[in-house]
Structure formats: C-alpha cells, structure tokens
C-alpha cells in the first residue's frame, strides 16, 4: 500500500531539503559562477579538482549532495504536478518523479565510484 511508504519518501524529502538549504547556494555559487567564470584562479584546475574529488570523504559528500536533494525535488514536483491539475494518476506521477530521483542517485553512484 502506497500510503505506508509515504514516511520513507517524506524522510528523503526532508533530508534533501535540509541538505539543499544548507549547501545548494554555496555549491551553485562556486561551480556555476565562480569557477565557471574563471574567478577561482588556480584552485580548480583539472589536477586540483581531480585530487579534491578523489578523496573518499569528498565523494561521499557529493553523493549526499546530489542524491538527497533529487528526492527533495521529486517529492515537491510530484505534488506540484497534482496541484496544477494532474490528478488522473497519482501513482504514476509519484512513480515517474521518485523514479527519476532513483535514477539520478544510481548515476551519481556510478560516476563517483570510478574516481
């Protein structure tokens, strides 16, 4: 029964929301603006980035950073679709949204495991 699984999805949503609230702004500012515009100088050259990311703690951090907020997105997007009138198949909407988050999580794991 779907109802009984709600606490699981909600806990991932809540954890993802907290992670996003704490870390998304600084991460976006760093990789999306500072580094992308080249303002970071030598701190994010290929060699340094590789060294930094290869550290197991970094990879764990990145995994959490990517995976949990994806579930946060999935949960919110699921309800937003319903709010916007997509009521015909609540189970399908939920399946697609959480499915995407699960897929993102697997991809993140695959990428990070190879460093």
């Amino acid at each position: 029964m779907a109802g009984t699984r709600e606490p699981f999805w909600w806990s991932l949503f809540a954890a993802g929301g907290a992670v996003a609230a704490l870390l998304a702004p600084v991460q976006i500012a760093l990789t999306g603006i500072v580094i992308a515009r080249g303002w970071a100088g030598q701190s994010f050259t290929y060699d340094r980035a590789l060294a930094l990311v290869s550290h197991p703690l970094s990879r764990l951090y990145l995994f959490v950073l990517i995976s949990l907020p994806l579930f946060h997105w999935a949960h919110r997007f699921r309800f937003t679709l319903i709010d916007l009138g997509l009521k015909w198949s609540r189970a399908l909407v939920a399946g697609v949204c959480y499915g995407a988050a699960v897929a993102g999580t697997i991809l993140a794991a695959l990428v990070l495991i190879r460093f």
Binding site: A2, G3, T4, E6, P7, W10, I82, D83
Partner: protein
C-alpha cells in the same frame, strides 16, 4: 456633510432560485466601531431579510461567522469595517466548501472528518472517578494546549489549496485536533489515530503552504501540527521497519 456610507458586495446564491451565484451591492451607514458582521446584520434587519448567514457569539469564540472578506478567510465578527473603508467590502462564503445558500457553507465533510480522527481521550485503563483527576503538570498541559484552541471555524480549510484541489484531504483542523490528543499526556490512543492520519488522504497530502496557520484566528498553527505529525509518523515508521521486533 452627509453621513458616511460603505458598500458591501455580497455573494448571493439560492438553491431554489439560482443556477449560479451573483453579487449584490448594499450601501449602508459606515460606523467606525462596526465589524463586518454588524454591517451584515444591518442589511438583514433593515434592507434585505432574505440574506442567509450564520452567527452567534460575536466575540470570536463560537466559530460560526467565518466568511471570505475581500478574498481572505476571516471571522466576520473580528473584521472591522475601518480596515476597508472607504473601499467596498466583498463578502463571500468560505472558499473550498459547497455553498448551501448565500454565505452559508455545507459543513458535513468536516463534521465527518472530525469524528474520523477519534478526538477524545483514549485510555487503556480508565481510572475510577473516585481516585480523582489524572495528574498533569502545567508543562504537560502546555505541550498540547495550543492545539486545543481550535474553534472549528473552518477558516483554515478555506485557506488551504490542498483541500481545494482534493476535498478528501483530512485537512488542517482535523489533523491539529488529532495532534491535540496525541500530545496529551493523559492519552494513550496515538496508534488508533495513526491509521487515519497516515492514510492516503491524511497528513501526507499536505504540502505546507502554511496559509491555514496564517488564517487561524486562535493561533492554533495547524501547519505546524501537521508537520509534527509527519515527523512523528516517520520516526514510528523507521522504528517499525528497522526494529520489527521492537513492538511498541
């Protein structure tokens, strides 16, 4: 100088006479210390006896006179004309409910949901009355007191878009009331209420818009009650899944 007046635009609908609602304008004397309910009573008494609405205590505690006033759910006995004057005031029945007639909404759905959450003290063992009261310290009273203040005025349902879209949603007041008993140190019925709270149309439908809490005239904070219920349910769920042998 002529006496000041104010215009009320009132939602009118009569099931025997109309297919769709309309608005009717009434110009009435403006008095600074009048609330919207006073204005509506003036209309009923002096201009148009056919206007239907509910009211009783006119001091914000019976919960009868909730209306949409300029689009916001308010108790009409606590909304002063001076907040709107000199602009017209638009009065409609509470949003998200079927309209019985004029400003009267149908409450059947809530009355049903209220019962669903088992809003009474549940005890494994009743202590005989001759043994006196159950002890409860002021701190223990404070733990649930806020959620016991709900007057069932329905403003929170009128403010809730989730309820607007999914009328099966248990809704703010009913969930807050369930929490009121769940958090009462004398109560032992949380697991009985859990089935309803955690059902498909229970707490998980809430997306924390938060407008129920904004609308609440009694500072009950139903939005908070629902989030706390979610957290408690989640902790229970993990306990069950991770420690199936733990029992309760």
């Amino acid at each position: 100088m002529p006496d000041p007046t104010i215009t009320l635009e009132i939602f009118r609908y009569h099931p025997e006479q109309n297919e769709t609602p309309s608005f009717r304008r009434y110009e009435i004397p403006y008095r600074e210390d009048w609330v919207v309910l006073d204005a509506i009573n003036y209309i009923k008494d002096h201009i148009d006896g056919t206007l239907a609405y509910r009211w009783s205590c006119r001091m914000g505690v019976c919960g009868s006179c909730g209306m949409m006033i300029n689009g916001t759910p308010r108790l009409s006995c606590a909304a002063f004309l001076r907040e709107y004057y000199p602009n017209p005031v638009r009065v409609e029945p509470l949003a998200n409910f079927p309209v019985e007639r004029d400003l009267v909404i149908a409450l059947d759905d809530f009355m049903h949901k209220l019962r669903e959450v088992n809003p009474w003290l549940i005890r494994a063992h009743e202590q005989p009355l001759s043994d006196g009261e159950y002890r409860q310290t002021p701190d223990e009273v404070a733990a649930y007191k806020q959620y016991s203040m709900c007057i069932n005025c329905m403003l929170c349902y009128a403010a809730c878009p989730v309820y607007a879209l999914e009328p099966r949603f248990l809704g703010p007041a009913a969930i807050a009331l369930a929490q009121r008993y769940n958090l009462d140190s004398r109560d032992q019925g949380r697991s009985q209420r859990e089935a309803v709270l955690s059902s498909e149309d229970g707490i998980w439908d809430c997306t924390l818009v938060g407008e129920c809490t904004v609308a609440c005239p009694e500072h009950v904070d139903p939005a908070g009650a629902i989030q706390r219920a979610k957290l408690a349910s989640t902790i229970d769920w993990y306990k069950r899944v991770l420690m199936p042998w733990g029992g309760r």
